[in-house]
């Protein structure tokens, strides 16, 4: 079992992600450079957070055209598991691997804080959490406002593909707990095949109690355990 962590110029969450998966969870993890031509047989790909290519033009837009993304798209389209965190989520949307788009926060300013998320545990990435569990994971973004047309949103909801929603500590999903203006408090969604998850919160930053929370580890553990089970 091997995790590949994609690194674009301007990415800064790759070392935190590596620390969470390899040092904390003990899963072999390696970096994939944006100019690389192959994925080196990794089993699970993470697109970490940061400001790929300075987020110039549009967040994630330039990265979606980088050489390695061709290979990652092939990997994803053939069912390989892919997790996009923050900027990684934006790249997945720009690459049409996930529907919708992340626009500027409603407040128009960057926001960094711990967010409470209500978990939908009906996915390969979350099946080790309890149903409707509330987890604490930091957010850190200026463009995390998830938007999509009505049909897309209806489809996501009908197919139970919203995996995380911003909530109160007790699970209340209302506008006051929405840090960025996302439709339906959406913090993370999955594709229809269930192998691609995009989320704005940073699970790798919630990897040990001493830094405030280790609630993010369940995402890495869930996907790894479901892959092990399926051989």
């Amino acid at each position: 079992m091997k995790i590949g962590i994609a690194v674009f110029p301007g990415t800064w969450s790759e070392t935190d992600t590596h620390y969470a998966t390899q040092d904390v969870l003990g899963i072999t993890s390696e970096y994939i450079w944006h100019k690389d031509q192959n994925l080196n047989n990794v089993d699970f790909i993470i697109l970490p957070g940061g400001f790929s290519y300075g987020d110039y033009l549009r967040t994630g837009a330039i990265a979606s055209f980088s050489p390695i993304m061709e290979k990652i798209k092939e990997f994803a389209n053939s069912g390989g598991p892919v997790l996009g965190i923050c900027n990684g989520f934006q790249i997945l949307c720009e690459s049409n691997l996930l529907p919708g788009i992340l626009i500027r926060n409603k407040t128009l300013s960057f926001v960094c804080k711990n967010s409470n998320l209500k978990v939908n545990n009906n996915s390969k990435f979350t099946n080790l959490y309890k149903k409707d569990q509330i987890i604490k994971i930091p957010i850190s973004h200026g463009e995390g406002n998830y938007q999509a047309d009505k049909n897309t949103i209806n489809k996501l909801e009908e197919e139970n593909r919203v995996i995380f929603r911003y909530s109160s500590r007790s699970g209340d999903i209302s506008e006051q707990y929405n840090p960025n203006g996302s439709i339906n408090n959406i913090a993370g969604i999955i594709n229809d095949a269930g192998n691609i998850l995009g989320m704005m919160p940073h699970p790798e930053k919630a990897c040990e109690k001493i830094i405030g929370s280790d609630d993010g580890l369940g995402i890495f553990s869930s996907i790894i355990s479901s892959m092990v089970k399926n051989g």
Partner: protein
Amino acid sequence: MVKEETLKELALSRSEYNLILDKLDREPNDLELGLFGALWSEHCGYKHTKKLLRSIKSTSEFTLTEAGAENAGAVNIGSNKAIVMKIESHNHPSAVEPYEGAATGVGGIVRDIFAMGARPIALLNSLRFSNLESDRNVQIAKGVIEGISGYGNCLGIPNIGGECFFDESYESNPLVNAMCVGLVDADKILSAKADRPGDLLIIIGAETGRDGIHGASGLASQNFEETIELRSAVQVGNPFLEKLLIEACLEISNFNELVGMQDCGAAGITSAAIEMAERSELGLKIDVSKVPVKEDSMTPYEIMLSESQERMLIAVKKNQHQRIFDILEKWDLKCSIIGEFIEGNEVQIFDGEKIISQTSIEALTSPPEYDLSLLSKGYKNKKNKIKIKEEYKNFDKKIINKYLFEILGSNNLISKESIYRKYDHHVQTNTVVEPGSDAAVIRIKGTDKYLIFSCDGNSRFSLINPDVGAQINIAEACRNISVLGGEPISLTDGLNFGDPTKPKGAHELIETFKGFNKACKVFEIPIISGNASLFNEGHNSSINPTPIIGAMGIMNNKTKIINKNFMNEGDYIGVIGKSLWGTENGLSGSEFQSFFDKTISGEININLDFEEKIQKNIRNLIKNNLINSATDISLGGLIMGLIKSCEKNNLGVNIDKAIPNNWAGALFGEDQSRIIFSFDPKNEKLIKESLSNVDWEKIGLVSKENIKFENIFFESDDLFLRYNKGFSTDI
């Protein structure tokens, strides 16, 4: 004969010009005059502060650098790890163009840190604005905060703390001081030097453009009224490029071929290259035609003095640059060999084949040193007696309530959460205590260490008495570290002052250093790096003298982490210090005095030995895991200390004492050397033993709600709402 105007533009005086003639024994050409203007500026040459800086304690058993010798100061924290830290100001650029001024301030201090081979692991900042009543002031504050957020967040460096303070003295001169902390293996610290003749001088990063010419000599060395038109002197930052530079420079920092690294900051290539040569005791040849430029037909003068951002210089062993160039190419960074170090002590500047300047490095890098004691002659610090209104001395519930609720409208006292929420403080996954407490705590992975950082200063105290004010500033910096359990081990200072050529400015600087010296001795702590921003004047008034202190402390990671917040209902509350109450004299320079009496006056004092003792005692309590929270009593006095301790966990206090008649001093006095802490009742006996040698008392207990004294109580919901409501105008 050189024109007055030219000299003025370069911030050189006629007598300095004459000194240049003596040193060169000829007239300098235009380019050379530009070099002198830059290198003899206050920003690069420290001509008004060098004498004072030499008087400061700058080394200790932990230090690995000598003050001023490198881009920043370094201290050993054990396990072969070193911490590099420094504060830098970007005041004048932020006044002209707030967003870019602040952004490039962050960029500059970060380059100072990774120039030493250190990975930047934390940012802090200290901001000073005028009140938010005018659109311009709001725009400046907003722009600065967004600039720090926009640039810093892009780099993946957590912004873990600092302060933001409002006072009218910053009306024309906002202050933006940024502090950066880096981590490096102690045996791998890079030096900003070449090694031997033949070593190559290579420029990396951004192309050189026409931005920021005369930044150092113009913006940072004259008062503001003269420079309001210098818009082109502010640089524009590209944080994406900076991020690439960080990664590339750290990747090559381990290569044997790399000899030294230096960032291009104020005065651009001129200052960076010539100072490298000076440190190396070598000569230098530069060819300006080899410097990659943004625009055609840039003159040698423009190339040498441009302050384009995101550029680094490195010294590399002769003919051994290929592996380095490969790494730079991997990161898509431009680079070019622009010169080489040579025997001798001259800098020779070429434009292609043609030599255009040949000057002694010694002459360029030894500006006159001014004796501030001569400049301050005749200055007498005004003594203003504190006036206490009758109302402040008569206990009256209604009146006290009115004053308390009004003062919670002060932007200085309320929570700064709306600012630090705009900065990423979690990235790198080391932040153990987030912004919002007296200091921030980070862990150092792979070691058994926690590091504690704070960055602030009190300029009102320095205005009343710069000597005592400086002592208090260092005492409070160390106290902020101690109340989280850290042993303070190093300081960095940001000196923000008015015009040092005027008696008042000179006096304030001299007295500040006196205070620093006294405090550094008592706390046995060195100031390992720093920055001076002088000439902060405009509209005939100077800023309050504002020394900012960045402090670092260290503790073992077995220590239980506490912060300012009361944790449990029923815990006892104690105060270490002579008395929990403030005094009438303690209103001198306080927020209360400034807010209600619109003055900054009176007398301030601190007993450093006592201060050191209380800090040692609180650290011991934390080390022995005896207490659940600690915070010092500072801005806003006892009542603010209690509100801050209660608000996070929505708790209250029952104090077994009645507020005395002189309620204003008692509640709002900012008398020094007082610490509030809370503890489990079962630890009372051990705490009594531990504190047997210091003044302290148990004052009450943590309750479910409300702040209650024997003769009055305040509803906590209302207080917390006001504390957390955000600024009067959204910034």
